[in-house]
Symmetry: C2
Subunit: 186 residues, 2 copies
């Protein structure tokens, strides 16, 4: 994992669209969540540090009908830091796939555990199916015509296509997993 990569994910998100910690947390649950996850506590803490370092500037915004917020945008040093980081070598992904551990672990559990795992896999599959539909809906909405897209949008689109390909791959694999689990009893 790259050092302090969350900072850089936040810089990209704020360059695409300035916003508050709360808004960033929601993006990290949605569009950015396709490739990065973070809790709101982590985001607020890192934003403070970035503001102290001069990477971002924050200003309080009065809102009607809801609490005030503090909106951030990227300052020149932040943009310079991002450029430096962009040119560093990409680190290999760190993989931590709990379900795969449980599948291999099922070899050391009994029939009841096996049944529980099948139920879990089905639940997990339903979640991924929902995610895929959300991505596809978002794709229709945000990228209807490739020819009219700007460069930033094309890059966002290709990342989204990665998310879509990932979800489709997962769904196909989970079918394989379910077939395998059902096949064990026989």
């Amino acid at each position: 994992m790259a050092r302090v990569a969350l900072e850089h994910a936040i810089l990209v998100s704020l360059l695409e669209q300035p916003g508050s910690g709360y808004e960033l947390a929601r993006r990290f649950d949605r569009s950015i969540g396709r490739f990065w996850t973070a809790t709101h506590q982590q985001i607020y803490r890192v934003l403070k540090r970035m503001e102290v370092d001069g990477w971002v500037t924050g200003q309080d915004v009065d809102q009607e009908g809801r609490p005030d917020k503090r909106s951030y945008s990227v300052a020149a040093p932040g943009r310079a830091a991002l450029t430096t980081w962009l040119r560093e070598p990409v680190q290999p992904e760190t993989v931590r796939h709990e379900l795969a551990v449980k599948i291999r672990g099922a070899a050391f559990d009994d029939a009841a555990g096996r049944a529980a795992l099948i139920a879990e896999v089905e639940h997990y599959r339903a979640d991924h199916k929902t995610t895929l539909h959300r991505y596809l809906t978002g794709e229709q909405r945000d990228f209807p015509d490739e020819a009219t897209l700007g460069e930033g949008q094309r890059l966002q689109h290709v990342v989204l296509r990665g998310g879509i390909a990932y979800e489709r791959m997962v769904l196909a694999w989970l079918d394989d997993v379910l077939d395998t689990l059902h096949g064990l009893g026989r």
Copy 2:
């Protein structure tokens, strides 16, 4: 991410085959690395904790031609802890995909940065191609005939098929990414 999931990944690995911290670290770089990564420092530390907790038992093994080692195997409380964990709900994966951040970040860099990114993507692609070939070679070696496999092996195989599907998906997506990046200049 599940709480203390590394312990459980170690339990599964030790149930499949007892071994030392060093051996575990290598497995986590190879077969287990398909779905979990950990450094040797982390593994040694967690193994100590697991031994204190009575989850595993370690014993020193004299070796000829190489340094002595401490080999661990799973004790009854560890096996019980694993069973409990196996039946807990699966947590959604936490995604941290640095390359995706960099691709979206490329919208805020110049032509030189774009060229550097293309080189990085190509390097990254070569790594994944190597990984795919390693998986396919391992599959031929370890799972030549599905009909003769035991239950544990079938479960290991379906996890490996997941790794293979993942690598194939990544390679196809990286081609899409490269096309997109090349298409920006025009």
